[in-house]
Amino acid sequence: MPSQAPSGYWIRTVRWCLTVAGIGLTLLSAQAQTVLTVAAYPAVDEIVRAAIPFWKKAHPGVDIKVVSRQLNDHHIAMTTALSTASYLPDVMALEVGYVGRFAQGGGLEDLSLSPYSIRQLQGRYVQYAFQQANSRKGAVVAAPTDIGPGTLLYRADILSRAGVSEAAMTRSWDSFVDVGAQIKARTGAYLIAHARDLKDILIRTGIQPGEGLYFDDQSRVLVRSPRFVRAFALARQLRLQKLDAKVIAWSSEWSEGFKRGTIATQLSGAWLAGHLHNWLAPNTEGLWRAAQLPEGAYASYGGTFFAIPRGTAAANKQLAWEFIQFMTLNRDMQLSAFKTQDAFPALVETHDDPFFDQEIAFLGGQKARILWREAARRATALAVHKQDAFAEEVINTELDKVLEGGKDIFIALGDAERLLTQRAKR
């Protein structure tokens, strides 16, 4: 009958399709390899993807799947995954700003224990980067893969037009500001993008052992210490003399400032030279030079780490650790990441590679990597505190009041201290 024959036909077709699909899936799963999931963000995801063919040669049965998100989204996703221990990757990339917080949380595998025993490999990493991944209880939660040694990038042509030398600029922070006044007077260019940049670097100098940036290890508030007073005073002097362009980093006015040569210097990580060359100000090729930070300061701006979540399947943890060792302790992998993505290697034994002695065209042929290598050796790690993000906001607010509203520095720092003391122990 017309209404019954079609249904019989369809049922047989559906059954046939399901059988074929079932056989196909079984065959596929029989050939399935172990898959390691690596969660990362640009440009770490590119570095991992470029490493996959070399990894497959050493580990043919292990596939790598890269899950990539934008920087902020990635860390929010990792926080969510860790909070419920679901959808965790086998290896997660972490940026330095988040490592401290994730370290205190206890959701990451302690690599100092066996079978990882990363402390035996400690000497192979740049020291301050290794320290950054230590939790307060002495656990090592991540391995550093790249670092951002701090440097002073400046426009050599603007300096020569103003008749000032690099040595005069980097002798001390006071001379740095004086040089800025001369640059402004003779060329009209601003010294730096924002007075806040100067404050940021100055509060990182002169930190005593056991101290963090805003709190010490007993959660006492440190914002009235001399380094803060000096930072605020110099920033205010800079602003009063109209030496900063009042533009926020990464805004369109900031990149315009570089293109037009209205900003003479930038204190940043070494990686900024690559950005300037690629898209920020390619027209200024050959005009920039790199120097160490003034007054013998050494700081770090950025860095990437690889960590293993505690909630990952136990079977994958050993493979995840081998992958991390592959990315961080393999000389070829570290150097190729440096050459293609400008990721300054955290592996010390790569630092004698001839690549470091090469001239950098964008910096007028300067062999700047030697400078940056030195800065990497001398930088120190900062202890991290849970309220650091809030403290940064409070200090920036008080700095704005000092710069814009003429508030007295000691009152401003006193107000900041009061706000921070209230929540230091949370």
Binding site: T80, S83, G106, D400, L419
Partner: protein, 312 residues
């Protein structure tokens, strides 16, 4: 054609089956977050430590929030913004609705639609547009002010300088209020227009015959008849104003502005959780905000109570 027995829905279970999608979604996205947030308000929790990392701390989070300077600052900001953006909405929407009701016949829907458009526009589009409108050097609003300052008579009221709407702490609040007003005035016009259409025309005719002018008719007939709708509109404005989040979030890039001038309580509790990593305190703050909103709504209710109910 009858479905096979397995797929047929019996009348006894039909209501539950048909309601179940909504109930499931409501339980999952409405009730569960509420309950979890109430539970979390009494814990201290670092999320990267997993669910096991929660520790009971009793009322500690509430005590902390109530003694936090920034919480009171955010409440001040919220009340200021709610008042300055809310009151003009109603003061302008009522006469505007009356005007549209009495003057437009064929064009009425088009005019009302035009006023209602901001309410349904995507927040992202508004963000992009208003950020560029409020731009200090290139924005249209500053360009308009500059033009106004050059007019012959009223020019003296306006200085020709560019106003830094988004970065100056004293200016970000008016900027946010302007955005909120623009967004919701149309919604209130629609409400009041609907209410105006329920007032019988013969009352107005009787008043005209008794010699009442248009202004007197508006004051003695229209406004009292609108009272229930005003009560509804004001309640919505109170609740919405106290929970203000989107517009300040857009204009201050999620940070609350210089000197936290644009930081409402909703933004502060969001930042508390996601920027300052204190989920327990953020949950406590959200429940304190709820108590405040409930209190203000109850006060609004009392203020608008009809005379018969009051005399009881």
């Amino acid at each position: 054609m009858k479905l096979p027995a397995l797929l047929r829905l019996s009348p006894r279970f039909a209501p539950y089956a048909l309601l179940s999608p909504f109930v499931a979604l409501f339980l999952l996205f409405g009730v569960f977050p509420l309950g979890f947030s109430l539970y979390l308000a009494f814990q201290t929790w670092e999320p990267t430590g997993g669910l096991r990392a929660m520790e009971f701390v009793g009322f500690d989070n509430y005590a902390f929030i109530l003694s936090d300077e920034w919480f009171w600052k955010s409440l001040q900001n919220t009340l200021w913004l709610a008042l300055v953006s809310g009151v003009p909405q109603h003061l302008i929407a009522i006469p505007l609705a009356y005007f549209i009701h009495s003057s437009f016949k064929r064009m009425r829907n088009a005019v009302v639609g035009a006023y209602f458009m901001p309410y349904i526009t995507s927040t992202v589009a508004i963000a992009i547009l208003f950020s560029s409108l409020f731009s200090t050097d290139y924005g249209l609003i500053n360009a308009g002010l500059r033009t106004l300052s050059q007019l012959p008579i009223v020019g003296g009221l306006f200085s020709g300088n560019s106003v830094d709407w988004l970065n100056d702490p004293a200016r970000i609040k008016p900027a946010i209020s302007m955005l909120v007003f623009w967004r919701y005035v149309g919604f209130n016009v629609v409400l009041y227009l609907a209410a105006l259409q329920t007032i019988p025309k013969d009352i107005y005719e009787a008043a005209t015959m008794d010699g009442a002018g248009r202004l007197q008719q508006f004051w003695f007939i229209t406004l009292p008849s609108l009272r229930p709708m005003i009560f509804f509109g004001v309640t919505l404005s109170v609740i919405g104003g106290l929970q203000l989040f989107e517009e300040p979030f857009i204009l201050t890039d999620g940070r609350g502005g210089t000197d936290q001038a644009g930081m409402t309580t909703a933004i502060y509790l969001y930042r508390m959780a996601f920027d300052f990593n204190d989920f327990g305190a953020a949950s406590a703050m959200s429940w304190l905000l709820f108590i405040l909103v409930a209190l203000m709504t109850w006060l609004t209710n009392r203020a608008f109570r009809s005379p018969e109910a009051r005399s009881r």
